[in-house]
Symmetry: C2
Subunit: 283 residues, 2 copies
Amino acid sequence: MDPKLPIGIFDSGVGGLTVYRALHERLPNERFVYLGDTARVPYGTKSLATVERYAVENSRFLQSHGIKLLVVACNTASALALPAIRNAVEVPVVGVIDPGARAAVLAADGGQIGVIATEATVQSHAYAKAIASIDPSLSVIEKACPLFVSLAEEGWAESDVARIVAGDYLSELKDTSVEAVVLGCTHYPILRKVIADAVGFDVKLIDSGEATAGEVELLLDRSQLANETRIFNQERQLCDDLDHFYVTDAAARFAKVAERFLGLAPSILEAVEVWGHDELRPQ
Amino acid sequence: MDPKLPIGIFDSGVGGLTVYRALHERLPNERFVYLGDTARVPYGTKSLATVERYAVENSRFLQSHGIKLLVVACNTASALALPAIRNAVEVPVVGVIDPGARAAVLAADGGQIGVIATEATVQSHAYAKAIASIDPSLSVIEKACPLFVSLAEEGWAESDVARIVAGDYLSELKDTSVEAVVLGCTHYPILRKVIADAVGFDVKLIDSGEATAGEVELLLDRSQLANETRIFNQERQLCDDLDHFYVTDAAARFAKVAERFLGLAPSILEAVEVWGHDELRPQ
């Protein structure tokens, strides 16, 4: 495998840009190819079979574009479809659940852990299982926060509305004095301030994207896949023309929400079809 | 065409149940086949090409199940994809935009009309064009209210949060003293109270679903497609076993939100795949 190949990232939509940002900050020598499945977003209210099918199609699309490693930025896809994705592609695959769970166990230091995520992720209990596999004695409270995604995408992240919704969703976590809370959906770091306000500022918030970036760095080093030579003759910037962004629909809306999330829109953004990459569904 | 055949209704998801309810109330002698494309919901943030593709697949699926008439309950699909749907199927097709526009013109009585809808419907200006084709002198203000869908589906319809969001979205309509407001998305009737509160209780709210039910009744009569004989030996109820509901994904969530919207869940609810019905994408 050529270490100069880019790292693939896929997400159900625009939320994975928070994972892209974390990877970009930690790995300035790497290039990224991002796919947002905006034609079929959101995944968080959909079933196992459907999320698996979409995730496999996305992963095959990215593999066909030449990547050395695949990051599944979407928590729902990581929770439900990691085995199916690993079966479908030949590159190493990293999801966000296990890194987030490990970071939460460290941060909680034996205390209770809260997990906030989409309905599908919560119903899968993927974080609770991952945490239990590290330390079965830890107590975990999971809570779905379905309105958070729209609030983040529509620009209400720091509004009174977001504060009321967060207060409602997170009252149980606050009352039970959790030590750490996993932001188990890529959109939630955008609402970090109102979440911190709702659970209490002493509670540690775990950004699964940041935890994943750390694990990707380790994995690249161990497998000698890191791009050691500084091949780029330009200062890296978020969304610069060394990174390539694909969406399955509505590129204009993606660019608008990307600006809201990252402060700027991708230089290279292209709308594509991914469904032909699933061998079960020829075009 | 056999008048005893059911009427097909498709929607991007669960919102079209408000249109189903309006049709059911007005046409107690008719049976309905409802398809909610829950695997690909929402349509309101997606592009013309994608909405057209999904709408054609859904319409062909319903046609293949034997219907005498197709109601496109989804405002976004009605706004963007009606010509494509009419090309794709052989039964009469009724969208919700034209009936809603006609009802608004009548209700506004020469005054200004507000239209609230998804981003895609607003960007298509489908309601403004339909209103202008009836009376070009009428002034129309269109406003996208993207958070309303999640608020309705997640059970926040009568919350303070919904009131604040509605106040924000609808301040311009209130300030310009509109005479009537079109609820241009199937979810919005669920938020009728907070919308009325935000625009003022003297403003007439036009439910496009109700207007569409009236037009379907007329069309059935004119084309002699109405089921005149009372063939059912049971009292009709919403969601009873004479109506058949299909979803493309996550039937359990559909049933839960249906209960929230209608007070009860469908008796017959089945998950299906619709993509094979588009001749461009064989399975």
